[in-house]
Structures are given as C-alpha cells and as structure tokens.
C-alpha cells in the first residue's frame, strides 16, 4: 500500500474549493425554486383542487418513483430531441431544473403532512373571522406548517447539496467534475476523491450546526 500523497491533496484544496460557489449556487437556487413549487403542490393537494389534484399526484409519484440520475438524463439528453426550445440548454440549468422537480416532489409531501398537522379548528376559526382561503393559509396555517416541516426540509437541502454532484454526469465541471479531471491527469484517484468527499462533508457539517441552531430558535418561539 502506498502512502497518501498529502502534498498533492493540499494542492487540490484551492482547485476544488474554487468550485464550491457553483455547487452552492445550484443547490440554493434549486432549493428556493423547489420550496416554492413544493408549497404550491402541497396546497393543491390539501385543498383537493379539482383536476389539478390528480395531476399533482401523478407528478409527485413520478418524481419520487424514478432515480434522480434518470430524470437528469431525460431533461438534458432526452427532451431536447423532441422539444426544440430545450436544444441549447446547458448542464447547469438542466441540473437546477432536475433537482428542483425531483426535490419538490419529496418536499411537497412533507409540507402537506405539516399542513394537515395544524389543528383543523384553526382553519375554522380563521374562516369564522372572515378570512379568505389565501389569508388563512398565509397567516395561520403555513407559518405553523413551516415550523413543523423545517427540520425535514433542511435535510432535503443537505441531500440536495450532495446531489449536485450528479451535474457532473451532464458535463458540468463542479466539485465532483473538477476532482475527476484532476484525478484523470494525476492518476491519484484516492487523493482527489478523498478531497472532494471532505469538501462535501465539511459543507454538510457546517449546515447541520446551523440547522440545530435554527431548530432551537424555532422551538423557543412556539413555546411561550
């Protein structure tokens, strides 16, 4: 067994590090879009909006029922063959759209559960004082549901960051792609992939600390 080439690993840190912003960019953008989409999907399901409800059910079933990698390939390689508007789509955009759709399906289910967890009588109370459906969702139900769903949604964000590495398969040079390129030149695969693994690990750990702080704060806000 050869020793680890730690000097090479140190050299790789700034190289891989320079791609952290792209990884975070994809994850944050996809997270924001997925949150908005998931909230809309959850509301459609909770209110049982005619027709839309069934469509959303199929959407959620599909995106939860197929692998993310397959979905990304469908968007990037498959759809442009039949949808001319998608011909020029770049890997980053395709990855962001794919991550958004995939994760919105999961997040919609947690948000739906959280909405249903709010005591039914609060809906009625809000209706009884004359609130419209939009007002009662925005002011009473969603804030409480957000609190319940927050830990799960944070977990999805962490999962999302790790899943951006799949953008590499769409030809995007992000952290994983950069590591692959470096390794291909130096043949030091273990070092290169170890460095990229450590990068993901550190990012996720930092976020987990933030997540725990957030949960403590949210917990305090509800109680008294």
């Amino acid at each position: 067994m050869r020793p680890l080439d730690t000097a090479y690993m140190w050299d790789l840190v700034p190289v891989i590090g320079s791609y952290v912003p792209l990884t975070l960019f994809m994850a944050v953008l996809a997270m924001i879009a997925a949150l908005a989409l998931a909230a809309a999907l959850a509301i459609v399901r909770v209110l049982r909006v005619p027709v839309l409800d069934s469509l959303v059910a199929v959407f959620i079933s599909f995106f939860r029922g197929t692998p993310l990698l397959v979905q990304l390939f469908l968007f990037y390689f498959g759809l442009p063959q039949v949808v001319p508007a998608m011909t020029g789509i770049d890997g980053v955009t395709a990855a962001i759209i794919g991550l958004t759709l995939h994760f919105s399906a999961y997040m919609a289910e947690s948000i739906r559960g959280a909405i249903l967890g709010v005591d039914r009588s609060q809906w009625e109370a809000a209706q009884s004082i004359g609130m419209t459906q939009g007002q009662l969702l925005r002011r009473i139900i969603l804030p409480q549901a957000a609190r319940t769903a927050a830990p799960t949604l944070m977990n999805y964000f962490i999962d999302m960051i790790k899943s951006t590495s799949l953008a590499f398969t769409l030809g995007v040079t992000e952290m994983m792609g950069a590591a692959q390129k470096e390794a291909a030149g130096s043949f030091l695969y273990l070092e290169a992939f170890l460095v990229v693994a450590l990068f993901y690990w550190v990012i996720v750990e930092v976020l987990s600390v933030g997540q725990r702080r957030l949960e403590t704060r949210l917990g305090k806000a509800v109680a008294r």
Partner: protein
C-alpha cells in the same frame, strides 16, 4: 316583530343522516337566545351552518340586508355572512402561532384592514375587558383553558359582529374555569348583543337568555321565554329532557 336575523327552512344532511330538518328562527335586534337539547340533535350544526363552517343544503339565512340561499350560495355570500357573525368555539381554536393580543387583532387587521396601531389599541381595550391586560404577549400554549377561552371570546368581540355565536363555550373547560368564562359571556349579554348560544348550563341559559329554544331530532320542538320553557313546558320531549338534566 322585525327580525334582525331570519333563518328559514334550514336543512343539513350528512350523507343519509338529516341533522337539521327544516329550522325556522327569527332573532330580534339585541335578543339573546339559548339553544338546549340532547346531544346529537343538531344544535352545534345549526350554529355552524349560520356562518357556513358546515354548508347547509337548503334554506335561507338573512342578516340585515344580506340574504343567502344555501342551495346557491357563492363564495362572496359565505364571506358576507362570516363577516356579520363571530364564533366562539368549544375548544377555543386560538391561532397557536399568535399571541393573545395578535389573536384578537387578526380579524381587525387582516379582514377589516385596520392599521396595526388602531387594532392594537382596540385589542388592548378588549384584553382589559376580558381581564387579561397583562397576558397580551402570551401564546395560547402558555395559558389556562379559561384564559384561552376568554381570548377566544375577545377575538369574537373585536369583530363587533351583528350576531355572536357561542358553541358550548364551557364544555371543554375544567370546572374551575367555567365561572370566569360564564361571567364574561354574561357581561356581553348585558350589553344587549344579539347572540345565539348552545349550552348545557341550564341555570346560565335561564339567567341570560330572553328566549330558550329546545331542539331534538334536528327540529325546534318548543321555544319561549325561560320561565315558560323551564316552568311550564308544553311538549313531552321538552319535559323529559328537562327532567333528565334537571
């Protein structure tokens, strides 16, 4: 006799079960009416149909200038009725993400469009009236059942509705909190607020109501002033019920 609120032929079915079987009721301005009767006879459903928390199947509800035919009630009709009524729930149903003061302000700011400062001032007046001037910043989870129900009543008072609806407001309370809630309702009743109250507290009903309505099987069996209904009820079913609870 002019009705401020007039209910005609109200019918509500849950599946094959007819819960309200043609209710006619007229409330005069400032009249306080208590509804009594055995469990499961549609008393709460009647209240819930008046502001469409339950959607009645047939009948007309008129409040002032607004008349809504249940069979073809639009969303705007429903909102119009809800904005003329206020509802006090058995289980308080306070907004858990809002403080006592915010619970009271919510209808004023979000629904009535009052500015924050004005709504806040009004909420503080109400907090004083319900004896919770020092608990404005408390969340419901930190309050006793009696306090929560007083906030629930305060939230309804803030709306200055034409009709206040009380759905068994003390049934979920520990006995030690019943008195303070009844006292508050009594004070509101003294202000000649038109109200409809479903209650199992017979003594209380007799004391505050101008009229007692006895319901059974989804119908109004008998109604009249308290001394008449409690003293010389005409119908056998009324007398049987009063013997059971009495």
């Amino acid at each position: 006799m002019s009705c401020q609120i007039e209910i005609t032929g109200l019918v509500k079915r849950f599946g094959a079960n007819t819960v309200l079987d043609g209710i006619d009721l007229c409330l005069e301005p400032g009249e306080r009416v208590a509804i009594i009767g055995p469990s499961g006879t549609g008393k709460s459903t009647l209240l819930r149909c008046l502001n469409f928390l339950d959607h009645p199947d047939q009948g007309v509800i008129r409040m002032g200038q607004v008349a809504v035919d249940a069979a073809r009630a639009s969303r705007a009709d429903v909102l119009a009725l809800r904005r003329r009524t206020a509802f006090v729930f058995q289980n308080y149903a306070l907004f858990a993400n809002k403080t006592a003061r915010q619970n009271i302000m919510e209808g004023l700011t979000t629904v009535r469009g009052w500015p924050q400062a004005k709504a806040r001032a009004r909420a503080d007046e109400i907090l004083a009236q319900i004896g919770l001037a020092d608990r404005g910043d408390s969340f419901p989870a930190a309050m006793s059942g009696g306090q929560q129900q007083r906030v629930g009543i305060g939230r309804a008072m803030a709306l200055e509705a034409e009709l206040l609806l009380f759905d068994e407001p003390t049934s979920a309370l520990d006995p030690e909190w019943v008195g303070e809630v009844l006292d508050l309702i009594r004070r509101i009743a003294d202000g000649r607020q038109t109200m409809l109250i479903v209650t199992h507290e017979m003594q209380f009903a007799r004391e505050i109501a101008d009229r007692i309505v006895f319901m059974e099987g989804g119908r109004i069996v008998e109604q009249g002033p308290p001394e008449q209904l409690f003293g010389r009820a005409q119908d056998d079913r009324t007398r049987a019920f009063l013997r059971r609870v009495g």
